[in-house]
Amino acid sequence: MEMSFREKSAWISFVLIVLVFGPYFWLVGRSLAGAGHVHGGTQFALIALFFALEVVVHVAIAVRSPRDARAPKDEREVLIDLKATRTAFYVLFAGTLISIFTMHFRVTVWMLSQFVLFSIVVAELVKFARQITLFRRGL
């Protein structure tokens, strides 16, 4: 079945997160294991890169189907968004609690920021994965 604009958008965001933050957290993992170093500014540069890519790719698919892109979300799309966001909230909640818990293990501010960013990224991945699943299933 042909995908709606919102479903394409969810796929794009999911893939971009994997492509942009996957290698980054691999490097962070190596750094935490003492096998490398990640520059402090990389985090902000990647976040900026992610948003820039999101805008560029979304504009590209909006140009291909302008009517779908302009149309407001319908009730099913809103419901899918709400269900996916609720699932992602639990992931973010757990990630935040774990991040707070790590403070008892003499972690640095840089490490703590990595835990928090990782929680956000995983929560977003779960949100888009759930959206894609619900779009595929109908709801």
């Binding site: 079945m1 042909e2 709606s4 479903e7 319908d74 009730e75 099913r76 799309e77 109908g138 709801l139």
Partner: protein, 73 residues
Amino acid sequence: MAGCAIRNSIRELRFNHSEMTQQELADLIGVTRQTVNAIELGKYSPSLEVAFQIAAVFKVPLDQVFQYEKAKR
């Protein structure tokens, strides 16, 4: 809702209305074509508002579009 099913006759009604496409129906009721498809296949139960809009498009009572059937246990 467990133990019940809402069936619909949208496909048949579309066919009887000059073979209206899913996209045409979607445009008339303000949803995406994928949502019309999900409703037709029984994967998504629409809100009352959308259900009444569909009935209004085909100029039939609501129960001619949607039928509630209690599942056999």
